[in-house]
Symmetry: D2
Subunit: 293 residues, 4 copies
């Protein structure tokens, strides 16, 4: 299938490569030209503009945040360039407000909008093993299912309203942050009583919490290894902000998210914005002054 | 091995039965006589007093909380009845303060004290599939390992200080409560945006959070089925209190535990102390007035 | 002094009237024409546009929030209409980000910008008894001091950076919200133990907390009288949001503000956005299910 | 009136001196003999035991906490020594649970129990300017009113149940802690935006918050002067714990108290237990790493 692909960051480049690998004809575009070279070698066509990629009729985008989506897709004319009857697949994690706005904008132009955020980190994107949460027109989803099969291990449909996929992704990231903070506090508590984080987490992540989220972040906390960041604290702060904002919009108090916000803000104040958000374990330990004992 | 077993509640009766099933000679005692009958039929001897069970030399106890431990074991003379050189295995979830006190009391009498709290609910106790966290004298642990093999799928040694096993159990329960609250808030948020809890949790508990803790409680939340309680909110409130108390003792701030405390207290104020602590999902939904929308 | 005055809401109309009363020549403008009539009778000139009011050279504005400031002053051309060397006095409570932006916009045009938010409710505005916090050019402040003397009981200079006055106003409102929440929780606690809020608050507000903030809101809580609102919960929610946003910008965790956010959001979810924010006392009582006892 | 007085700490010695000064015949007792000497010189009789002081028929006590009350009054036999028809005035800040227990113990012995906690710091105790909150039998209160007049500026009766006075004192101290924390966060926020704490607090404590609580603690925060402590952080931690405990007993969630608990615990972990609890301002600043900027 001929497909435009906009946004070749750490996630997008792996996703685009998997589309090419699955035999699709992919027209890529990226704000900075660097990442396009590698994909050209893999067989991608390189568009001169985001709008050119959009004219493929089916175009996927994987941009960093609301601001980038607004700049590139809305202000940058991408949405206007998609032909009527075309499909825009948005893989980015964006606010529910913007998800709703994009749905209305596309609908007004006769373009199908699929909100399709993904769960998984860059290594899973490279391996084509993402989990794709999707909301939007069912027939459009059916048409692009081969693309999702190329980038993900499974697609999780959530109905037609794009806001649903957006909020599910936001809520999922909130659950990840909560899992990290709960390990962070638990390890501060056990460490203060003489138990090493590695020993405590070995029990937890092989029994009740034997799941990727806990095992992955548990390994970082046990080793106190927060650089290079798989997911930096400043992005975590942004994502917790998306949860709180979605809560504001719908009048849903989220006390755990409030605690996460403070903890991540403390991490940022400490200069740790570029460290992995698993470094919340350091914040919890610091509050108890464990390193000074 | 001849073993006393004190405390035949929902957990203890399954554990004692598995000891019998593994060929050990078990002398049981329970405050109320009801549960002893069934175990007698399985082959247990029934002691007339807790002290009699303690005179076996090796005695395990599975009591409800600090108060019961203090009443039966300390004030009730059990500790004094264990012969020097004997072993007391304490499976209960108790405060770190009491764990330390028990360690000192036994040590003064030449009795080995093994703090051996377990992870697992009554069905896992019945199936001999508990996870046993153990701290205490290594040779004593070696002696009673056959008992642990009968009740558990695995033993997790944590060194010699009984406080370590106690704090690990408390921290583990805190992580469970945190997992529930994070699902509770995430489901309130997604539901307010049109996504059913069952749909959202299906994604989460089959991907990033594919672990027993999330799958078990996720199922209850998806079905809004909180009675009968597997683990009632009032016990959850007590256990979060143990975490906060352990944090007090060691000067460790635990902001998530503070939120859990408020949420469980609200559940209790609503008359829900006997419902499963997964009903925190109702509290989160109630704060957002989702049922009134 | 010839002065434009933009924004004649509950606060602005009293302030403008006091300027007239002190003998200043006031040119008023309001989005909806209603409030201008009364001021015309008091001696005001009524401008046809906000820009016309701005052309007075000295112009004060009292608009509702960031959005109104942006729409009327920036997008609506008011800033461009102020002659070079003129002075713009902004009395509104706005974000620190917008305060900084306005400072730069005016500076680029050679206009003095005075951030001059006020403490006091409509009755104090009508009585000319506001407290005016002011940051900006010292000579400009000196020029308009007669205006401040007409609307306020005292001016509190905070230096030249307009952000300073903005953040002081935001922090002050945060302290008000905190005072309310602390009374709310304290009254829930005492009421649950048999003490009426009126009895408890009588002690507090005549002793340690004998200050306008506590006496004013304490009276509302003691009487459970939240309508009509002096300051509605939804504005309180906005203002706590300004504090959190200012904290984000400068990396300052504000845990009390996080709690206030959740409590006000719960009030909004309950349909209480138009009630006085002292109704946080109801939220605290509701969490404890006091009305159901 | 002949009166026993038990407990001559920083508060008690001033109170006893004022009783003597008002012409009452005072029989004092203190655990350590030091403070008795000074009172003897002022005219007090010194008892050989707490029980001897109790035999005066009217006995007041001002002990540090629940543990001291339990040790001296209950286990130490003071309650048993008060003659039937006598009056025990308890000025200490104790838990609601213990207040209820003491009420029942006295009632069973035919002794009137007046719970009479006081608001005010040692200088106010010395000046006879305390505020006395009192609950208990009305005729007993009438009898000892002359004593209250000697130690306090005003008596605030709260009915007959001693729990009421206890909870009012606890809730009042919680409001004090909340006032401090709200200044602490507000000052961290304003300081991060260039406003000195002294400048910001000058505005607040002369306008909306012109009350003793804010002026007293505001002065400490503005000067960053936390030693010697007027009221040390570790006592503040204990008192916030009393509020949370009272909330537990009556099922009242207190989210602000939860935040205070974490903040004070962080102060204790930092080694600041002996500093004034106004040093919460340092904790708030530290979270934002303001000193490292």
């Amino acid at each position: 299938m001929k497909t435009g692909f906009i946004g070749l960051g750490a996630m997008g480049r792996g996703m685009a490569a998997n589309l090419i690998g699955a035999g699709h004809e992919v027209v890529v575009w990226n704000r900075s030209p660097g990442p396009t070279q590698d994909l050209r070698e893999k067989g991608a066509l390189v568009a001169d503009s985001a709008a050119e990629a959009a004219r493929c009729g089916v175009v996927a985008s994987m941009l960093a945040d609301d601001a980038a989506v607004r700049e590139v897709l809305i202000d940058g004319g991408v949405i206007d360039a998609i032909p009527a009857g075309g499909i825009h697949i948005n893989h980015a994690t964006i606010s529910v407000a913007l998800a709703g706005e994009l749905g209305r904008l596309h609908s007004a132009r006769g373009v199908h909008y699929l909100a399709a955020p993904v769960f998984g980190r860059p290594d899973m994107a490279a391996a084509g093993a993402l989990n794709v949460v999707c909301a939007g027109d069912a027939s459009a989803l059916e048409r692009v299912q081969p693309l999702f099969d190329a980038i993900g291990q499974r697609t999780w449909p959530l109905g037609t309203d794009p806001v649903r996929a957006s909020v599910a992704k936001i809520a999922g990231n909130f659950m990840l942050a909560s899992a990290i903070e709960s390990m962070a506090e638990a390890c501060a508590l056990t460490r203060a009583h003489g138990v090493e984080a590695a020993d405590f987490l070995a029990i937890m992540t092989q029994t009740l919490f034997a799941a990727p989220a806990y095992q992955g972040y548990g390994k970082l906390i046990a080793a106190a290894r927060y650089e290079p960041a798989g997911f930096p604290a400043q992005l975590g702060f942004k994502d917790v902000g998306l949860a709180l904002e979605a809560g504001d919009d719908a009048r849903v108090p989220l006390p755990f998210a409030g605690v996460l916000r403070e903890a991540l803000l403390e991490a940022l104040a400490a200069g740790g914005g570029d460290r992995d958000w698993a470094s919340l374990a350091e914040i919890a330990a610091h509050r108890a002054h464990l390193d000074a004992r």
